[in-house]
Symmetry: C2
C-alpha cells in the first residue's frame, strides 16, 4: 500500500509512538524502571479497536501486553511495564479491529430498541461459531446455538453471550481482525546504576594531605584517601567520583584561586592533564601506583560503592600526546599550538584536542585509555566538558565501549544550550549534569523537574549535583544552612540520581569574589577537612544527608525517574511534588508513595495549602490518609487540601511517607 | 561515523528540521506561499557556525539561501522563501564552520587587549592567503601582505581585513569548513488554489426549480443553475461546489426534514447515490446530460470559477455496484447487506463500502470514476466523510490521481477527532474542513487560528466553511445578522481558503428543532431562493460577502496561511489578528499588512484596547501609522495600543489596511 519512498500507513494506523527520541536513536530505560509505552491508534468509522504492546526481551522472550485507552476520545493507548533485564529490547505496537466488542456494543443497543433483531443475533451466532472454532470452546458452540434459538426471547438469546466461559474463551482467542503492526522500536535497558544512584565527589590528594614543617604539603594518596571511604558509605552514597588522577602539567600551571603563576609547591589543577610522568593512562605519582589504585577501587567496592573516574579529554602542554601526536592539536601559523581561550582570555595551561585531522587515531587511543581503566574495575566515567568535543566522537566512542562492556556508565558534564545537552544524552551518554543548580524559585523547580521526569526522560537521565568544584550557586552562597538542606532534599528526591561534592556537608559557602565557585578552591590546593569534628560539633549536614539517602533506599518510588508529579500550592515559595509506585512494581507488593513539600525561601517561615492530586498518588479522591514526616517523625492525617508551615530556621522540608488510609 | 542502523550525526549536527510532518510524508506548500525553513544547528565549543538552505526546484534548478540565527542562544537557523513553481521540491540544510568569522571575532578582542597579537595576525594572514586563492582576489593577497607587515601597528594590520573588496571576496568564496549536509527533505508544491480560494456551495436542482400546478416540483437543471453562476462570481467566489450530481436511490429514500419515508415527488438526498439510472459515473437525469454538465463547467470557467464535485463513496441500495460487486459491501449472516448505522439507529438508504475483501477492485473503479469527471474539466473534489474509509485508501487514490494530474485538489470533509483529521491531511488531502464552526469564543478563535497557521500548516490547509447543509451552528442560529457578519469576516481572513453554502447570505438561521442543521433542509427538498429580491430589500449579506472577497483579492497578505499573528486585547469578546507580507513577496514590492479586529459577542457593543505587536506587522516599534477600515472607509492613526469600540448592531468587525507611517 505504499511505495518504497513513502511512509507505510497500516490498515489501522499507529502513530506518535512513545517512548521515542528526537533523532531516532533508541530510547533508554534502566533495569527496574517503570516505562509507559503509548501510541495513537485510530481507524475509520465507529468499529471498536484495540492495541497490544509486543515486547521482546534481550533473551528473545516475547510478551504481548494489552494497551488501554488513556481517556475517552483521545485515541491514545498505553501500557506500563517494569523492565527487568539489561540489554537491547525491541518492541512494536499491534492494532486490531475488535470484532466481538463491535458486535456486542451494537447488539445491546439494537436488541434493547427492538431494531434489526434477527439479523443482529445471527451475526453474533456466526462470531460465536468462529470463537468455538478458534478457542475450541464448546461453551461458545452452545452459546451460538442458543443465539440462533428462535424459541427464546431476543433478550435471552443475547444473554447467551454473557456466559463466563464464553468470556474466558474470548480472552484465550480474541475475535479480532485487520491486525496491523507498527515499525519496530528499540529500548536500550541499562543497569540500574545508569539511572539510580547517590554520588559523592572528592579529591583523593586532599584526604590525608598534611602541611609540613616547611609550609609545603605532603599530598594525600589513594591509601590515605581510602580511609575516608567508610565515612562516605555510611552517609549512604553509591558512587565515589574522583577528579582526574593523572600527572599534572607544570607549564603554565595555575596557582591558588586560579592565579596565573603557581609556586613551586602548588599542586596544580587535576584537569591540566599530562606531564613527563605520563598522560591519560598514567597515575599521578603523588597518589600512588596502579596497585594502590586497584586497592582503592577494591576498598570502595567493599564499602558498597563504585568508583567513577573523570575523563577530561584535554592536555597540558607537557602531555606526551603533544609531541607524539602534534596533529591532534591546532597548529597555528607561527608554529605554536593553540591554547584554550575565551577571547581575549587565554588558558595557557590547556591544549584542546583538534579532532578533524586524525579522527580515527584519536578514537583508537581514547578507546585504549578507557579500556585501560575499565580493566581496573572502573565502571563509570564522568566526562568533562563533552560539549567542547564533536558529537559524533561521543556517539562512536560510547557505542564501541558499550558493545564490549554494556555496563559502563558515562555521565556528561555539559553545561551549555539545550540542543547540545539533549543531543549528547540521546547519542549515547548514560547520564547528564543539568541546569538544576540554577533552578531555585518555585516555578523554576516545578517546571524543570517536570521536564526532566516527562519531556526528556526517554533519553536523558539527570544527575542532580547540588554543588561541584566549579559551582557554588548564589542560592548556596546566600541561603545558609536552610538553603543547603533544601537543595539536598530536592536533589535527592527530584530525580533518581543526585550528587554532592565534598564540603557541602560542611556548609562551605564562601565564593571567590565575583565567581560562582568556592574560594581557595580545591582545584588548585590541598584541602583536608575534619568531617568528624564538624559532626561532633553539630556543624555538619552529614546526618541530614544520611537521612536523605536512607529515605531513598527505603522507598522504591524515589528510585524511579518518570513518576514525579507536581502538586499545586498557594504559596509562591512552597513546592510540592510526589512520587508514587504502584504495588505491582514493588518487591513488597505494597504501593509506595512519598510527598515532598519544600519551602524554597531559605530566609523565612512560609505557610500554604497543598492541594494534592490524589489520583496521582493512587489514593481515592474522597478519603483521608496518614502521612509520616521522615525528617521529624511527625504524623498527620492528610486529604485533598492540607495546611503546611515550613520554617527555614527549623525544618524547611517535609519528606512525607503515605502510610495508608486514615483509620 | 554511524552504522547502518543508527542515525547519522554529522560533523556539525542539524536537527529539528522544519517544515516537517508527523509521519514523514512530504510537507506541503502552494504556489506563491511564503515558507519558513528552519533547523537547529550547533557544534562543540565556541567557533562561529552558519547554515544554508539548499533548495532544488522541480525543474532541477538549485539555489542556496543563507539561513539566519533566529535569536541569540537559540541555535535555531531559518530562511524564508516564496515558492514559485508547482511540483516536488527537494531541499536540505548545510551547516558549516565559519572560519573567517571565528577568527575575526577573536582577533578584534585580542588585538584590542594586546593579547597574542603576532600569532593572531599571522593566522589571519593565512586565512587571507586562502581567500586570495579561492576567490582569485588580489585584494585578499594585498590584505594578507598588510597583515604580515610588522612595520605597521597591530590595529592597522588588523584593519586590512576591513577592505570592502575583501568583504566582497568573502561573499563570493566564504572561508568555511566542516560542511555538513542534512537528510534530503521533500516539499510538495501545489497550485495556488490548493491553498487559496473562496468557495460557494449550491444545489443545482434548486436553482430554477419550480413548483407546478399539481404541487409537485420541476427540478432545476445544469442549464437553469448556470444562470446563477454570474451572481456567485460577482460576489467574488473562485470555486463553485456542487453536492453529488448522480442518480439518487429510491429504496428507503429520505423525505423532507430527514423523515424516513419520502413521498413519490420528494427528490431525495443527493448523497444516497445510485439508482437504475447509474452510479458514481452517471448524471441525475433531472439535471441534464453529460453535454449539459460540460457546458455548466464551461460557463463557470467563463465567469472565473472552477467547479468542485462532491465525491461521496457510499451507495444507495439501488446502486449498480450492489449487484455488480456484492463483495464491496458487508454481507450479513442473514444474506442481507449491512446498512450505515449508529446503533440503535440505522440508515437504510445507505450502504457503506467494505474495503477489505477487494481493495484493488475498489481502487481501480474509484480511479476510473475520478478520471471520468476529470475529463469533464473538474479539477476539485470535495470528499464526503473520508474518515469513514481506510486511511491507506485515500493515500493510494490521491497519490495515483496526482501522479497523472498533479493539479487535482481534494478537500477532506472529515469531522472527527484530531488524529484522523491530521492523518488525512498528511497522507494526501489538499485541504481540510475544520472545527472552525464550533470555535466561537475569543479564546477558541485565537488558539485555533494560531494552530492552523503554525502548528499544522506544513501539511493541513484549512478551508473555513461558515455553514454547510449539515452545519448551522448555534452561534448562527442565535447570533443574528451581526453573527453572520462576524463569522464570514473571520472565515474570509483567518485562513487562506473559506467557504459558504447558499442561503448564508439570506441569514437562513432556523434549525430543525434539536438539530444543528437548517429546517426544511435542501438535502431533501428543492429550495429556490430569490437572491435579487433580498438584496434589493437590503436583507442580504451579499454586499458584505462581496466586500470580503474584494478585500482578499486586493491584499496578498490574506492569501497566505502561515502569516497570521494574534494580538492581545483586553476585552474577552474582542479578537485581534494581523496578516503581514513583506514587500519582497508582493507584486507591487510594497509590504502588505491587514489587521482584523472583531467583536465576537453578537449581542452587544464592546470596547477594548488592542495591543499590537508592531514587529509582527513589519512596523517600527515606536512610531504611529495610518489605517483605513475597508468596512466603513474610516481612517485612524494607530500605534502600539489602540482604543476600539465595536457595536454588534452597527459594524462588529474592523478590517484595517495599514496605509503607511503617519505623516
Amino acid at each position: 500500500m505504499a511505495t518504497a519512498d513513502r511512509p507505510v500507513i497500516g490498515r489501522i494506523p499507529i502513530t506518535a509512538i512513545e517512548p521515542s527520541t528526537p533523532n531516532g536513536f533508541p530510547s533508554k530505560a534502566f533495569d527496574s524502571e517503570v516505562v509507559t509505552f503509548a501510541a495513537t491508534v485510530f481507524r475509520e468509522g465507529h468499529g471498536v479497536i484495540g492495541a497490544d504492546l509486543v515486547l521482546e526481551r534481550p533473551d528473545g522472550a516475547v510478551r504481548a501486553v494489552p494497551m488501554a485507552l488513556v481517556g475517552e476520545g483521545t485515541d491514545r493507548y498505553a501500557a506500563t511495564v517494569q523492565v527487568d533485564s539489561v540489554g537491547l529490547w525491541t518492541w512494536h505496537v499491534e492494532s486490531y479491529a475488535d470484532d466481538w466488542a463491535t458486535w456486542i456494543h451494537a447488539a445491546r443497543l439494537k436488541i434493547a430498541a427492538g431494531v434489526d433483531t434477527e439479523a443482529t443475533l445471527l451475526d453474533g451466532a456466526v462470531l460465536l461459531d468462529r470463537l468455538a472454532d478458534e478457542a475450541e470452546s464448546t461453551a461458545a458452540a452452545d452459546a451460538a446455538a442458543a443465539m440462533r434459538d428462535t424459541e427464546r426471547s431476543p433478550a435471552a438469546r443475547l444473554a447467551a453471550a454473557d456466559d463466563p466461559r464464553v468470556t474466558a474463551a474470548l480472552v484465550d482467542a480474541p475475535l479480532t481482525s485487520l491486525r496491523t503492526t507498527s515499525a519496530t522500536q528499540e529500548l536500550d535497558v541499562e543497569r540500574t546504576r545508569a539511572g539510580v544512584g547517590a554520588w559523592y565527589e572528592f579529591f583523593p590528594r586532599s584526604e590525608g594531605a598534611r602541611r609540613q614543617a616547611d609550609g609545603t604539603w605532603r599530598s594525600g594518596t589513594f591509601r590515605t584517601a581510602a580511609r575516608r571511604l567508610p565515612g562516605v558509605a555510611r552517609m549512604g552514597f553509591d558512587v565515589i567520583y574522583l577528579p582526574p588522577i593523572h600527572p599534572i602539567g607544570v607549564t603554565a600551571r595555575k596557582g591558588p584561586n586560579n592565579t596565573l603563576h603557581a609556586g613551586p609547591a602548588d599542586p596544580g589543577s587535576p584537569w591540566a592533564i599530562g606531564s613527563a610522568d605520563g598522560g591519560h593512562d598514567a597515575i599521578h605519582p603523588d597518589l600512588g601506583n596502579e596497585e594502590d589504585f586497584r586497592s582503592f577501587v577494591e576498598t570502595a567496592k567493599n564499602t558498597g560503592m563504585e568508583v567513577a573516574l573523570d575523563f577530561a579529554l584535554q592536555c597540558s602542554p607537557d602531555h606526551p600526546w603533544v609531541t607524539e601526536h602534534p596533529d591532534w592539536f591546532t597548529q597555528r601559523a607561527d608554529g605554536s599550538i593553540a591554547t584554550a581561550e575565551n577571547p581575549p582570555k587565554r588558558y595557557q595551561d590547556i591544549y584542546p584536542i583538534q579532532f578533524d585531522t586524525d579522527p580515527e587515531g584519536i578514537v583508537t587511543e581514547v578507546l585504549r585509555v578507557l579500556r585501560h581503566w575499565i580493566s581496573f574495575g572502573v565502571g563509570i566515567f564522568r566526562v568533562d566538558n563533552p560539549h567542547t568535543k564533536p558529537l559524533w566522537f561521543w556517539e562512536r566512542v560510547i557505542r564501541e565501549i558499550r558493545t564490549e562492556n554494556p555496563e559502563i556508565v558515562f555521565l556528561a558534564e555539559a553545561f551549555t544550550r539545550p540542543p547540545m545537552m539533549r543531543a549528547l544524552a540521546e547519542a549515547g551518554f548514560t547520564q547528564s549534569y543539568t541546569y538544576f543548580t540554577w533552578r531555585n524559585t518555585k516555578e523554576e523547580i516545578e517546571s524543570y523537574l517536570d521536564e526532566l521526569a516527562h519531556e526528556t526522560s526517554a533519553y536523558l537521565r539527570p544527575n542532580l549535583f547540588v554543588n561541584t568544584p566549579d559551582i557554588l550557586s548564589e542560592y548556596l552562597q546566600f541561603g545558609g544552612r536552610a538553603g543547603y538542606k533544601v537543595r539536598a532534599a530536592l536533589a535527592a528526591t527530584g530525580a533518581a540520581t543526585w550528587g554532592m561534592y565534598a564540603g557541602y556537608e560542611l556548609f562551605e559557602d564562601v565564593a571567590r569574589p565575583g565567581s560562582e565557585e568556592n574560594i581557595d578552591n580545591e582545584k588548585y590546593e590541598y584541602k583536608p577537612r575534619d568531617f568528624g569534628a564538624a559532626e561532633a560539633a553539630g556543624a555538619s549536614l552529614a546526618p541530614y544527608v544520611t537521612m536523605l539517602n536512607r529515605f531513598r533506599s527505603a522507598h522504591p518510588a524515589l528510585r524511579q525517574l518518570r513518576n514525579l508529579h507536581v502538586h499545586h500550592t498557594d504559596n509562591d515559595a512552597i513546592v510540592a511534588y510526589s512520587k508514587h509506585l504502584p504495588g505491582t512494581y514493588t518487591r513488597s507488593g505494597r504501593s509506595d508513595t512519598v510527598i515532598v513539600v519544600a519551602n524554597v525561601d531559605p530566609h523565612s517561615a512560609r505557610e500554604a495549602t497543598v492541594f494534592l492530586d490524589l489520583a496521582a498518588l493512587g489514593l481515592p479522591t474522597d478519603g483521608l490518609f496518614d502521612v509520616r514526616d521522615v525528617v521529624t517523625g511527625a504524623r498527620w492525617t492528610w486529604g485533598a487540601a492540607n495546611y503546611v508551615r515550613l520554617d527555614a530556621f527549623q525544618e524547611p522540608v517535609h519528606l512525607l511517607v503515605v502510610e495508608g488510609p486514615h483509620r
